[in-house]
């Protein structure tokens, strides 16, 4: 869009204003976290209580559990958080705002766990494991959105691509008994949905957001329809796929703590990491990536130097669909096996949020996906601990975080300039 929101609202002063507000806002956010540690958590702790952080290690190198005195832990973490806030407030040229906030959030997470688990044992390894597994579809979905939006097409259909690929992956994996074929077909079905989005938005110039939203409704209706009419009567043959088992990577999987976490996972986790690296390198280090970004930022200029804008967009939207399709397949043949009604439950939209929260960058998307996955996993841990915090508030976290991020209160979020703009040759 040629006119940025700030021009509509009174120009440059406001933008400058916002930068200062963001810097201060972030410092205040950190102080609020510190206050949470010190004033809310620490006050309700009895002096002698400890929390046990258990790190299940592989048998080769057992790691002893950590016994932390709760009060002292909270005190230290709270003070560190407050100091981070001071640093943020004084450090005017700081461009790593997200890093500081990330550290602050992580520290508060530990403080929160210490407080919620007082007198009990917290299974850290399990928590991290669940976070990582939750983060896989989120990362892939975010990468899908990123591939599309970097070329200028908004992909709200991630949710629909997830659902259809999860469905196809389960059915093909179950009917043929071949999980790899299921994964392939799942990925291709995601690509097909991408093609649908591309035809409607690129060739026919329909609104990208509308088409995306409607594709999501279409996918939900279609998968549920066939689930009830075809899969439920033939549960054994059509909806009972096996799931990918863990593939230990020799030697690396024996590293304490991170070994089993990172190097003894199923193919989905490895695939997500590989795709992430490929997208990161391809987008920022190759000629292809430069062209894609040019199309997303200024299609007219790209066209004048001979780049075929529509073709680049088509390719990227289909590619994005395939990546989302892999993420979708991970819901069924990557974890639970069976396809269930609306099993993605809005995770496609969280993936979109992770992309935005990660500021249209692959590594940022990974960070956001891990953070969101962590908060999702935290709910299970907390319900196991009978923590006095309703899990519903934790579920709200990714959404609230995204709202705060797009509102620009903690760092700037700038989409590609031509994102969402249909392009027609003159």
């Amino acid at each position: 869009m040629s006119d940025s929101p700030s021009t509509a609202l009174g120009g440059r002063e406001l933008r400058k204003d916002l930068a200062a507000v963001r810097r201060r806002g972030l410092a205040i956010a950190l102080w609020v976290l510190a206050a949470l540690d010190l004033l809310v958590f620490a006050r309700t702790v009895s002096p002698g209580s400890t929390t046990v952080f258990e790190l299940n290690a592989p048998p080769a190198l057992p790691v002893p559990a950590l016994h932390l005195p709760v009060f002292a832990t909270l005190l230290v973490l709270g003070i560190v958080c407050a100091l981070l806030g001071v640093v943020q407030y004084l450090w005017k040229g700081n461009r790593q705002t997200y890093l500081l906030l990330g550290i602050g959030l992580a520290l508060t997470g530990v403080a929160f766990l210490a407080w919620a688990g007082k007198g009990e044992t917290v299974d850290i390894e399990g928590l991290l494991m669940t976070s990582l597994i939750e983060a896989v579809p989120l990362t892939l979905g975010a990468l899908s959105g990123l591939l599309c939006e970097r070329s200028g097409v908004i992909n709200i259909a991630i949710e629909g691509q997830f659902l259809i690929a999860a469905f196809v992956g389960a059915v093909v994996g179950s009917a043929t008994g071949n999980l790899w074929l299921g994964l392939l077909c799942g990925a291709l079905s995601g690509g097909l949905v991408g093609l649908l989005l591309a035809v409607f938005t690129i060739t026919y110039g329909a609104d990208q957001i509308i088409v995306g939203v409607v594709i999501d409704a279409f996918a939900l209706g279609l998968t549920t329809f066939f689930l009830l009419s075809l899969l439920v009567p033939n549960q054994m043959t059509l909806n009972s796929p096996a799931v990918f088992g863990p593939i230990p990577i020799p030697l690396l999987d024996r590293i304490p703590v991170i070994g089993p976490l990172l190097f003894n996972q199923n193919i989905m986790v490895y695939l997500a990491i590989i795709i992430l690296v490929i997208v990161q390198v391809a987008l920022f280090q190759t000629r292809w990536g430069l062209r894609v970004r040019a199309v997303g930022e200024h299609p007219r200029a790209a066209e004048t130097v001979g780049i075929k804008v529509q073709r680049v967009r088509y390719r990227n939207v289909i590619l994005g669909g395939i990546v989302a399709g892999i993420g979708g397949a991970s819901f069924t043949i990557g974890s639970t096996g069976q396809f269930a009604h609306n099993m993605t439950a809005g995770l496609g939209y969280i993936a979109l949020a992770a992309m935005i929260f990660g500021r249209w960058r692959p590594l940022g998307a990974l960070g956001a996906a891990l953070l969101f996955g962590f908060f999702d996993a935290l709910q299970f841990t907390l319900s196991a601990l009978n923590a006095p915090i309703p899990s519903d508030f934790l579920s709200m976290f990714p959404y609230l975080a995204t709202i705060i991020a797009v509102a620009g209160l903690v760092g700037r979020v700038v989409p590609p300039a031509a994102d969402g703009q249909p392009y027609a040759r003159e």
Binding site: P5, A8, I210, L220, F226, L228, Y349, L400, P422
Partner: protein, 420 residues
Amino acid sequence: MSDDPVRPGAEPRAGSSVLARIGGFFLSGNVVMVTFLAFVSALVLGAIIIILASPDAMAAWDHVGRAPGAALGRSWHAIATAYSALFIGSIGSPRGIVQAIASGDGAKISSALYPLSETLVSTTPLMMSGLGIALAFRAGLFDIGGQGQLILGALGATLAGFLLPGLPIYLHLPLAIVVGAAFGAAWGFIPGLLKARTGAHEVITSMMLNYVALNLLTYLLTTALFQRPPRYQPVSKAVAATAQLPHIAGPSLRVNLGIVLALISMVGVAWLLQRSTLGFKFRMLGANREAARVAGVNISRQYVLAMTLAGAIVGLAGAFMVLGVDHQVAAGYGGTIGFDGITVAILGQGNPYGVGLSALLFGAFAAGGRTMQLNANIPLQLVQVLQAVLVLFVAAPGVIRTIFRIRVRGAGRVFGGWSG
């Protein structure tokens, strides 16, 4: 859209017959025609899906070489069963209705009109959420947060409905409706304010607020304030009788005052958009933001106002559902209705009367879909697929143009990127 050139007075190809010319005249540049053709396309696609899901028909297709008649016959049977159930469930049997009215028996008339009553019951919230979202559309805003606004509206109406028992109905009912609208308005105000103050795109913020609302609802249904006393299930306390919308066609039919209020709202929104200064500013903003700014429209304020108003109207959808039909809220209340409001608004092309008609169609789909599921054993979700396909084609008239080889103006509304 330069992709979709409007060629005023473009003649049909030379050499085409008179008949084709007449056909071309009726087929060109006509919103109604596009919608109709989109509807036909959706039904055809739906028919294919029905055949795919019918084991009978698919088995016959296995032997299509030996017995092509059987394959076609079974397929036709499957399609006819499904679509006739859809029709009977939404409108009823026309002959049955005539006979019942002729007999003059109240109970018979009621049961013959039951499908129509169900259609109107389903239409009410769809119309309200469609109207709210259409209002935002016209101001150039894409309110994707209907689900959250509907939940908040339902929560507000429920709260006022059970918290103040003993009030007379002429105070209690309006109060519950107003509280519902206010709660919905608050949920629309947030994305409006964020858009005006920080430029945050309303699609993202309102979408995120949907999930915040869903979790808020789940949480509130565990609190002593909301949860019904034995407190085993995530169900709210019931709305007092003095806050319920009265039935308008006898106690055995669920159709209630909500549909009347929805129709009044439709006229109200149409008046607001076409006749009032505020509506004029909204439309200016939607048509050309820069021009509106140059003309002295306070853009930030209109954004906030439009989103707040949209939220209030969608909130009323939730309020009417609670006060008219369910009388309580449960976890996940409202289902996809707030989302369906988007498709209703798109199908109605942002025009309040168009939205009313679209809501009626989708209401009929919803009521008929339930009967189809019961009688023809075809999952309700077929209706969701039909709606999505219909709206997809309406949003991209160019596709219809290509399929049916007709000329159609326009390429639908385009909102532009995240930053706008």
